[in-house]
């Protein structure tokens, strides 16, 4: 759907900062999360997970666990409905049905450590955890395949025997390569021949985890009428319903999903993990069964962002125009196909207008957890590689990094690397705002007395944002408030941003709209809270519903006043009659009279939006490095981002800062540190080093508003763009500080020391003239 709206300049609600509707419940601890649930008759489950990353299951014996006092049910893959090796659509694109079922519970083969093999339900948690240890599983361990290079090497062990790879359209068997695609424009050879400066670099990245505080959880009740109820912390109740129906071979209408409050997701709470297991246990024991993951299982068995190897080559002519770019991106899918490499290809060149480009993307199966979306999936990886190379080119040509980016900026009509033509985009506005920011205009004092070195870096980033389906129901209450029922689970303040869009149209205060996130039977279909679509698309549905409500209320006023509905005016929250200036009722007054005018007023807005309005960010960062230890401090950080229109600026700023924080963690310390056996050695928050408040400066935000013509208020997605540039920005700042180019994440202290040592050895061999 493409609609065009004129930007409106003044709003009453939009752009203000009311308290959030769910604020009291969150602050006082009354908000209900999945782990809080305690249903009558509820019992606990525990999951047995594979200690091997790659193995065949040769034998399984559950008899001891079944005999253990207090055990009510034991399930293995044999209890799952038979899955065939065929492609099915479970709501997030097509997947191989057998792979999806094996990911939930392995039937014959282990492809990542922590993959579930069996589960127990028992009277309490301790009993379930003790009983699960009594299940005997015999494995035939196989050589684990842990990197894209190992996976693509000749003679590599084949992880999925039934995998048919797609190599530029050719079917390939006995392979770990699920997919190889290419996007091509112009003539890259010719483009590089016109270049004066060419930089080509290869980058390596480690898997990283979203690191949400709340572990995965699920409560399931499978009743005697074959109806299944699920309570879970998820980014999409309807996505859970669709996955459950597909995996368990139930009609969707037999599955009812209640989304609980969610303690962070960042994309990682779109796939189901525990829900089908809890359901099968409940089916066997006919009790509500609760499962909650330990942190170790969250790291080992849920979906991190893919690591991999990326090569980027860019050429620039003498005038500073980019003439060509070529890139290879090989990303780790994990144990089953489906990395974010496709999205990475959509992002990699997006800040630029490049006449000749190629992108080759590979989706590679390795013996690590199956990757899942993580905030702008693929964009941080792609931009790290591209923006590092751009930085190096600016240095070679002596160009100011903002001037260079402005000169080469993508604009409306520019083609994205994967062929899509940009509509209205704000990259130029963002870069100009960055150049005017206090941070960029300041001079970084590089003089330190303690031998530390400082540097400044900048990088751009892009995320396309999605639209998709949303529906919202509004009901007028007779006290002048409006109940808003939505299906988008609230991860980052979207109750407020959706309610505010309805309130703006209705002319009432934000807090007079009362939002509720409903279960799958309380509201029409909604796509997941993901792709930065919620404030945009569900907000759009709220806008449509509010317009309908105004029309309905005009009809009610007309009835009361004996006027023709077309003669009723509505402005600033007041209904009036065109032909009789005495007849006026504000929203609240009219609400009280609805009972006498034809009964309750309820309306629905529903949208299916094909585009989301892509958005850009530019990040500026100052770092300080202790060259004796390799420790990096972030001294100052500014994020500049086009948000279309900031509905609630505080939550927009919060999203921007949050994305930066995750990006800083990814850049400096976060990684899946794998042993050669394929075990993640640092599967706890002690050793998976996310930044704490003491590791961060106040992150300065600059909101840029370039109206999105596809949305009534001009909204663009906000939540994902901010994680795209930080890794590159920090890498560029470290280069400015140290003179070394870091090409492998994370930039941990030991790695910085190794780079400095290599630098001093090179200097000793070849003294500078």
């Amino acid at each position: 759907m493409v609609a065009t709206f004129e930007p409106k300049k003044t709003y009453k609600v939009i752009g203000t900062r009311p308290i959030r509707h769910d604020g009291y419940d969150k602050v006082t601890g009354r908000a209900l999360y999945g782990a809080d649930l305690k249903l009558p008759g509820q019992v606990w489950g525990a999951v047995l997970r594979s200690p091997y990353a790659h193995a065949n299951i040769t034998r399984m014996d559950t008899s001891e666990a079944e005999k253990y006092p207090g055990v009510l049910a034991v399930v293995t893959a044999k209890d799952m409905p038979k899955a065939e090796s065929k492609m099915v659509d479970l709501g997030e694109g097509t997947v191989n049905e057998k792979h999806e079922v094996d990911r939930i519970m392995a039937s014959d083969k282990i492809v990542f450590r922590g993959q579930p093999v069996a589960a127990v339900a028992a009277v309490d948690r301790n009993t379930a955890e003790e009983a699960v240890k009594l299940i005997r599983v015999e494995y035939q361990p196989l050589q684990p395949v842990l990197t894209v290079e190992e996976a693509m090497a000749k003679g590599a062990p084949i992880i999925l025997p039934d995998l048919v790879g797609d190599d530029l359209g050719e079917k390939v068997k006995k392979t770990n390569m699920a997919k190889h695609f290419r996007h091509e424009f112009g003539d890259v050879e010719k483009g590089f021949s016109q270049a004066k400066h060419i930089v080509e670099r290869t980058f390596k990245m480690s898997m990283t985890h979203q690191g949400y505080i709340e572990p995965h959880n699920a409560v399931a009740m499978w009743d005697e009428d074959n109806r299944l109820r699920i309570w879970t912390g998820t980014q999409g109740a309807f996505a859970v319903r669709k996955q459950m129906a597909g995996i368990l071979k139930l009609d969707e209408s037999r599955v009812k999903v209640t989304p609980m409050e969610i303690g962070g997701g960042f994309g990682g709470k779109i796939p189901v993990y525990l829900e089908p297991i809890a359901a099968l246990l409940s089916k066997k024991c006919r009790r509500p069964v609760k499962l909650v993951m330990e942190r170790k299982a969250v790291f080992e068995s849920t979906g991190p962002a893919p690591g991999g190897t990326l090569r980027v080559k860019v050429g620039v002519d003498a005038s500073g125009k980019i003439t060509a770019a070529a890139s290879d991106m090989k990303l780790e899918a994990g144990g089953f196909p489906g990395s974010a490499v496709g999205a990475a290809a959509m992002c990699i060149y997006s800040p630029y207008n490049i006449p000749n480009t190629t992108i080759d993307g590979w989706d590679i199966v390795v013996n690590k957890p199956k990757s899942a979306p993580y905030r702008a999936p693929g964009a941080p990886q792609a931009h790290f590689a591209m923006e590092s190379v751009i930085d190096e080119l600016c240095e070679k040509g002596g160009w100011d990094p903002i001037d260079f980016r402005l000169k080469n900026s993508a604009k409306e009509g520019t083609r994205r690397g994967d062929g899509v033509k940009f509509g209205s985009i704000g990259n130029v506005d963002v870069l100009k705002a960055a150049s005017r920011s206090p941070h960029w205009k300041s001079v970084l004092n590089k003089d330190t007395t303690d031998g530390k070195k400082r540097g400044r870096g900048i990088a751009s980033g892009y995320w396309f944002n999605i639209g998709l389906k949303s529906a919202v129901t509004l009901s007028a209450n007779n006290d002048g408030t409006v109940s808003l029922v939505e299906g988008s689970t609230d991860i980052g303040g979207s109750r407020a941003s959706i309610a505010m869009q309805a309130a703006e149209v209705l002319g009432i205060p934000a807090l007079d709209v009362r939002p509720t996130v409903a279960d799958t039977e309380g509201v029409a279909y909604n796509d997941v809270t993901g792709g930065s679509r919620t404030t945009y698309a569900t907000g759009f549905a709220a806008y449509e519903a509010a317009i309908k409500m105004v029309e309905e209320l005009k009809a009610r006023a007309a009835r009361i006043w004996n006027q023709d509905p077309s003669d009723i005016l509505f402005k600033d929250g007041v209904f009036s009659a065109k032909k009789d200036s005495e007849l006026r009722l504000n929203f609240k007054e009219l609400s009280k009279k609805l009972g006498e005018t034809g009964g309750p007023v309820t309306v629905t807005g529903s949208v299916d939006l094909s585009t989301g309005g892509g958005a850009y960010g530019a990040h500026i960062v100052d770092v300080e490095v202790d060259t004796e230890t390799g420790k990096v401090e972030i001294l100052r950080y500014t994020i500049v981002q086009d948000v279309g229109k900031a509905i609630h600026p505080s939550y927009v700023e919060g999203q921007m800062q949050g994305g930066v924080v995750q990006g800083i963690g990814w850049a400096l310390n976060e990684e899946y540190f794998m042993t050669k056996e394929g075990t993640m050695a640092n599967s706890s928050f002690l050793d998976y080093r996310m930044p704490t408040t003491l590791d961060l400066p106040k992150i300065e935000t600059v909101i840029v508003e370039v109206f999105n013509p596809g949305h009534p208020f001009g909204v663009r997605g906000v939540g994902e763009v901010p994680i795209a540039p930080p890794i590159a920005a920090i890498g560029n700042a470290l280069h400015d500080a140290l003179g070394v180019r870091l090409v492998e994440t994370p930039f941990k202290p030991g790695r910085i020391m190794e780079a400095l040592e290599a630098q001093s050895k090179a200097a000793a061999v070849k003294p500078k003239r």
């Binding site: 301790n126 003790e130 050695a681 930044p691 704490t692 003491l694 202290p749």
Partner: protein, 290 residues
Amino acid sequence: MHPFAYVEPKTVKEAVAALSKYGDKARPLAGGTDLLVQTRAGRFNLDAVVNLKKIPELMSVKLDANGLEVGAAVPCYRVYEDPKVSAAFPGLIDAASLIGGIQIQSRASMGGNLCNSSPSADATCPMIVHNGVAVIAGPKGTRKVAIEEFCTGPGKNALAAGEFVVTLQFPKPSPTFGAAYERFIPRNEMDIAVVGVASSVTLDAAGKTIKNARIALAAVGPIPIYAVAASEWLKGKPANEASIAQAAAMAKAAARPITDMRGTIEQRKHLVEVLARRTLTKAIERARGK
């Protein structure tokens, strides 16, 4: 986890009896910041947890002419928030104020940190350079063990069945004593030492010559390492940069680190030298009253 008994003795004698009764199926509980996490992670298969915090000796801090005696279950904050202790025992304070984070320091004790016997324990090396002694109670009575002799391997120590640490004793430092502890972590809080180094010096009255020195190294061997050669070498040497550099190099030679997810052998050896230099410099400054 299977159900276990929770025992709360009021005296040292009762505690010895409880620990002796359950043997290696019991663990003493001080702050619990290691014990609870490790138990939930399945490291122990416990029949009893013995809370030591109801025993007065384990919860008292005594500072007198002889020195300092800290109950083994006294939480870190009580040590560093005491201004007199803080002034006299700077190395201990450096450690007590950086273990975990603020919330952890409200529960965790230096005694528990010692008994957990991790090579990376932040409190152990500072206790070594403050000439600390652990007072141990057990079925055969009370005995004392120097801190540097307490740990015997990762998670292993000198405690026999039924024994536990009652207090930690530190002699009163001379006016020309100074100590410091620094650890290297990639972040600024809530982290585990990649390397830690504690150093202490006692200077002559003029503040120019080192009369005594102790250097101890964390996270670079199976136990916290008392770097004897480097410490002994410093005796009688001038308190200057050259002496510090030589001692730091000798401390580096004493390190026996491994490569793991927290750091490599080369990185850790290098960090020992850097931190030994930094802590010796700070200890000398403190000894001179700066």
